[in-house]
């Protein structure tokens, strides 16, 4: 019995030692996507091909200002493409995910799965 606990002790130490590693791996996450609203924008565009500003706003239950700011950050990073046009006299803003954005989302998903897998041992 004592041998069993002794055998477990190094494992516990390894677990404790692995914790900072996991923390580091989280820090290495794509911070741009990690933010919840930006994650929502990228996820939505991955599923819907293209979405208008209003559609994204309704889907993510957010405000015009908030969505504009976060969409702009994704646009600046080259993760989404923004197309502005007019339908009659009404301005229309449409977003699409770029290949870089899709790759970033795939990488982020893989990262999340790896964290879960590591926790399950």
């Amino acid at each position: 019995m004592a041998r069993v606990s002794a055998a477990r002790q190094p494992a516990a130490r390894t677990e404790r030692a692995a914790a900072p590693d996991r923390k580091r791996s989280t820090l290495a996450l794509d911070r741009l996507i990690h933010e919840r609203l930006r994650l929502g924008i990228v996820g939505a565009l991955a599923a819907a091909d293209r979405m208008t500003f209003s559609e994204l706003k309704e889907l993510l239950h957010t405000t015009d200002g908030n969505l504009s700011v976060h969409a702009r950050k994704l646009e600046d990073a080259g993760y989404v493409l923004c197309e502005k046009s007019f339908e009659g006299r009404v301005p229309r803003t449409e977003y699409r995910l770029t290949p870089a954005g899709r790759r970033a989302l795939d990488k982020y998903l893989a990262h999340m799965e790896a964290i879960i897998k590591a926790a399950k041992g």
Partner: protein, 200 residues
């Protein structure tokens, strides 16, 4: 669902990762749904079906009955198309890409199959059995495409499909009653539910 949900202090990192994955999955599922389902337009289509059922007479009247319902189908297509386009415009959405396109890709082939079956039924002298054929095919189209849409669209489709099965199992003379139930009452109830919950 709120997007403003930062990681709670002390939450294990794997739980946070699982929560993020769940959030992405939910967002993707909701983003891929067709939102421009015409609720009030569907209800209006139901009203025209009730009027047609009242005036078309029994299916045994053949050509007269068929002419009434084909005319109603044209009116319904016009009403549905206009309502869908108006709702899409109001939602600042588009009908030619993404979820709308997926919806059309599922819905239209099944409706097309119904049109082909209509010709086959009429050519085979089975016009009085058309109510079952139309309700089953339209119900199947709505049920299948409804899986890609917001609200209770798929459920409305399954109800219409079930009414179609009942129509096939009943005497042909009851056809108009089933048409009124499926294309009329069910569409009105479903349309009002969608209109109220999903912006028109």
């Amino acid at each position: 669902m709120s997007v403003a949900m930062p990681r709670a202090a002390g939450t294990p990192i794997h739980q946070h990762a699982a929560d993020n994955l769940r959030f992405i999955r939910d967002t993707m599922a909701r983003a891929g749904r067709f939102a421009a389902v015409p609720g009030w337009g569907g209800a209006a289509m139901g009203v025209t079906a009730l009027v047609t059922a009242a005036f078309a007479g029994p299916p045994a009247q053949g050509t007269r009955w068929l002419a009434w319902w084909l005319a109603d189908a044209l009116v319904a297509v016009a009403v549905g198309s206009v309502a869908m386009a108006r709702k899409a415009r109001r939602l600042d959405s588009t009908l030619t890409t993404g979820a709308s396109l997926q919806f059309a890709r599922v819905f239209l082939p099944v409706v097309g199959a119904g049109a082909i079956l209509t010709v086959a039924f009429v050519a085979s002298g089975l016009t009085p059995r058309l109510p079952g054929c139309w309700l089953v095919t339209y119900g199947a189209a709505v049920a299948a495409a409804g899986a890609l849409a917001v609200g209770p669209v798929a459920r409305v489709g399954f109800v219409i499909l079930a009414i179609g099965v009942a129509a096939f199992a009943s005497p042909a003379a009851w056809g108009n009653i089933y048409m009124a139930l499926g294309f009329g009452v069910t569409q009105i109830v479903g349309g009002v539910a969608i209109g109220r919950a999903h912006h028109g």
